[in-house]
């Protein structure tokens, strides 16, 4: 868990780890990943934006990410059930509410199996029960040997082994 006030650099830290931006100083060292594969291909990066196309249906969006991200995990329908969007697969993603869009973005983590999850404010717009459900998904991921780096303001219960990194405000 990465916490800290707005502007402390939580998102920047996540983007640096994801390889989206380069750090001005210091370096990122990732132990335990497969050295033969690009680090970015072993991570999920869930940013502020949901990376959905409104003109495509819910299932089409998810199927696209399942193919493009590779290492298939759950089937599309199962993942939608898991995040509480079961039966909505044929709707265009444009009609979803903000919370439902977030759930669909989270479903992306499930359709492709990757050890490292980088989550930037993952629970924005989620209701209380969806937050609890998401925390359970996170705990399940940790139990299977995965790693989560989450920048968040909301209290997320990722189990007893969760550690907190508190970033100070920019003075």
């Amino acid at each position: 868990m990465v916490t800290g006030p707005n502007g402390a650099g939580k998102s920047s830290l996540l983007r640096i780890v994801a390889g989206l931006i380069t750090a001005t100083s210091g370096r990122v060292q990732l132990a335990g990943l497969d050295p033969d594969t690009r680090p970015a291909e072993q991570m999920h990066y869930l940013g502020h934006e949901d990376a959905l196309k409104g003109a495509l249906s819910v299932a089409e969006n998810l199927t696209f990410w399942r193919t493009v991200l590779g290492t298939p995990g759950l089937a599309v329908a199962e993942a939608l059930d898991e995040v509480g969007l079961g039966g909505l697969g044929r709707l265009p993603a444009a009609v979803l509410s903000a919370g439902q869009r977030r759930r669909l973005a989270i479903a992306r983590l499930l359709v492709s199996r990757r050890p490292v999850w980088l989550l930037d404010e993952p629970t924005t717009a989620l209701d209380a029960s969806a937050q609890a459900r998401f925390a359970a998904l996170g705990r399940a991921h940790l139990e299977t040997g995965g790693l989560i780096l989450a920048a968040t303001h909301a209290p997320l219960d990722f189990g007893a082994k969760a550690r907190e990194l508190r970033l100070g405000a920019t003075a």
Partner: protein, 223 residues
């Protein structure tokens, strides 16, 4: 990797074909440009036949660039591009896949429409054949070079102006050799093959350079 490449091409094609996708925009622009020229030039059929290939090529080139502004900008804004860095594709192939889908949705209709528009400009069959061949080879080159401008436009807000400024100079050689190849097919003095082979060379160069440069631009702008 191939599956991911094709999935990205399919997604971009689906987005282009659906409402608001703008697949028809280029061909409608092409049609408008070519349709108004005879009114401006006047009913001089000999003159039209002489300047016809140039007009068709200018129309096709501008029509190929018209939708490029949103090509990467849309993916940057909705976070898709960030998520795509984790895809099984290097950024160069992401750019190439998007370029291919863009060409199928925008460039290919131009090639198909060109013979019909050429009739309006009084081109003879040999010139029409040469024109279609040059468009088939040249529009992918223009699109590939356009990727560079599109990448900058995606990186900077309101970067549409950049596309014209950055891409048109790069695309000028393509225009020169495409139009001269079409002219050569009709009047000579050099055979059609000579400028056409240069055009093919330019196209191959652009197809390699475009995606690589676009990926570099996207990376540079992000960091």
């Amino acid at each position: 990797m191939m599956a991911a490449f094709l999935a990205l091409v399919r997604r971009d094609l689906a987005l282009a074909m659906r409402a608001g996708g703008g697949a028809g925009l280029g061909v409608v622009f092409f049609l408008s440009v070519v349709a108004v020229v005879p009114f401006a030039v006047g009913p001089d059929l000999v003159l039209l036949a002489r300047i016809g290939p140039a007009i068709l090529w200018i129309g096709a080139m501008l029509a190929s660039l018209i939708g490029l502004e949103r090509l990467f900008a849309a993916d940057v804004e909705d976070g898709s591009l960030d998520a795509l860095t984790g895809a099984l594709l290097p950024l160069e192939l992401v750019a190439a896949a998007k370029g291919l889908a863009y060409w199928i949705a925008t460039g290919l209709p131009l090639v198909v429409a060109a013979p019909f528009l050429a009739l309006m400009l009084n081109l003879d069959p040999a010139a029409i054949g040469a024109l279609v061949a040059t468009l088939l080879v040249g529009t992918p080159a223009v699109t590939a070079l356009g990727l560079i401008g599109a990448a900058f436009a995606g990186a900077f807000r309101r970067g549409g102006l950049l596309i014209a400024v950055l891409v048109l100079p790069l695309a000028i050689p393509v225009l020169i050799f495409a139009v001269s190849a079409t002219g050569a097919a009709v009047t000579g003095p050099v055979p059609f093959g000579t400028p056409f082979r240069v055009l093919i060379g330019l196209a191959l160069f652009a197809l390699v350079l475009g995606p690589v440069a676009a990926a570099a631009a996207l990376r540079a702008a992000r960091g």
